[in-house]
Subunit: 235 residues, 2 copies
Amino acid sequence: MARSTEPGMRAATRRATIEAIKERARHHLAAEGAPGLSLRAIARDLGMVSSGIYRYYDSRDSLLTDLIVDAYDSIGAAAEAANRAHRSRSIEHRFVAIAEALRSWARAHPAEYGLVYGTPIPGYAAPADTIAPAVRVSMVLLRLLADGVADGSIHATDPVPTPRSVRSELASLTELAGVDIPAPVLARGLQSWTAIFGTISFELFGHLHNVIVDYDGFFHHTMERLARFVVGQPD
Amino acid sequence: MARSTEPGMRAATRRATIEAIKERARHHLAAEGAPGLSLRAIARDLGMVSSGIYRYYDSRDSLLTDLIVDAYDSIGAAAEAANRAHRSRSIEHRFVAIAEALRSWARAHPAEYGLVYGTPIPGYAAPADTIAPAVRVSMVLLRLLADGVADGSIHATDPVPTPRSVRSELASLTELAGVDIPAPVLARGLQSWTAIFGTISFELFGHLHNVIVDYDGFFHHTMERLARFVVGQPD
DNA sequence: TGTACATCAGTGAACGCGCGTTCACTGATGTAC
DNA sequence: TGTACATCAGTGAACGCGCGTTCACTGATGTAC
C-alpha cells in the first residue's frame, strides 16, 4: 500500500486490454470475416481512439497473426484434451474422439476455423511464428499412429502399395516429427486427416446443406469408418 | 449493308463487355480474393467510368453471383468431360479420373475454387440461381454410383452399418436426384466426395506445405484408395 | 519517505486512399413505319 | 429508301462512407535514488 499501485499492475491491465482487443476482433471476424477485420472498428468498440490500438499491435497483420496463433493453439489443445480423456481406449475410439473434438471446436468457433482452414487471406503471409502452433494438432494424430503401431493395433501393411515418391517424403516426415511410423500407416493417417477436415469444412461451409440433416450422426458414422481405415481393418 | 450495322450487333458487343468484366473480375479475385473484389477497379481496368458497370450488373453481389455460377458450371463441365472420356473403363478408374479432373480444375482456377469451396463470403447470401449449377458436379458422382450398382461392380453392403437417421436422409436424397442407390453406397459416395474436396483444399490452402512434395503422386495414390473404398473393396 | 525522471496509455488531428451507388446527361446505335 | 423515335452505353460529378497508419501531444503510472 506504500506504492500508489501494486507492481505488475500496468502489465496486468495491458494483458487485459490485449484480451479485450482480441475478443472484439474475434467478434468482428465472425460477422465480417478476416478481410473485413478493421482496427478502427475494434477501437470504436473499446471506446478508444483508433490510433490507440497501435500501443498494442503495430499493424493489422500482426493482430491477424495473433488470432491465427490463438486459433491453432485452441484447436490443438482441444485435440490434446480429447486424446488425453480417452487414452485408455482403443486406437479407433481415440481417433473418433479426437475427430469429434475437432468438429466441436470448429462449430463453436466457425470464424476462427475459417481463418486457419479456409481460403487463405489474400496479401497476408503467415510468419514463422504460426508454424509451431499449426503443427500442434497434427502431432496428436502422429502420436496416435505411433501408439497404434507400437501396440500392434495398427496394421503396417497395405493392399494398395504406397508409391515410391510418397514413401520417401513420408519417411522424411517421420524423422522430422521424431516418431517412427511405417510409410503405409503414415499415408493412411494423412489421408484420414484431410478427410476429417474435408468433412468439417463441407459441413461448416454449407456444402451439405439440403443433403444432410443429422450432421452429428453423419459425422460420427463417417469417422467410425475412417477409424477402421486408419488401423487397416478390412473394410 | 443497308443497315448501318448487322442486327444483333449491340447484343454481341454487350456479351463481349460482360465477358471482359468477368475476365477482369476473375483476375482481381485471384489477387485480392472475393471480399476485395471492387467494381471500381474493374471499371478502371476497362477504361470505363465506375458507374458504367451498372449498365451490366446492378450491384457487386450480382457480379459475384455470376462468377459463382460460372465457377460451378466450369468445374461441373470438367467433371462431366472426365467421366465421358473414361466411360468405358471401370468404376474405380472413372472415379479416379473424375477426381483428378476436379483437382486439375482447382489448380488452374484457384481463386474460383476458393470462391465456391472456401470460406463463405461474409454478408453474401447465395441466391437460388446458384443451386442448379452447384449440383451439377455432384450429379456426376451420383450417376457413377448408379452405374456401378447397376453393373454389380459396387457392393451394396457395408461392414459398418449405416445409422438409421443417415439412412433415411440418404433415401430422400436419391429420390430427389432420381437415381436409385442403396443407402450404404450413397454414404460411401458422400464420404468420398468430402474426402476429395478435403484433399484438394488442403493442398490448395497450403496445409500440405512442408509435408508433401509430390502432390500429384500423393493425390493419385489417395484417390486410388478412395476408389476402392467407394466400390466396397476389402481394404 | 520523498522527489526527479522515464515510461507508457491514450488523444486528436491529419494524410491519402478506396469503396458502392445514384443521378441527370449526351451521343451513338437500332427499329418501326 | 428515308425519317422519327426509342433504346442503350457510357460520362462526370457527387454523396457519404470506411480504412490503415503517422505524429506530436498530455497526463497518469511506475522506478531509481
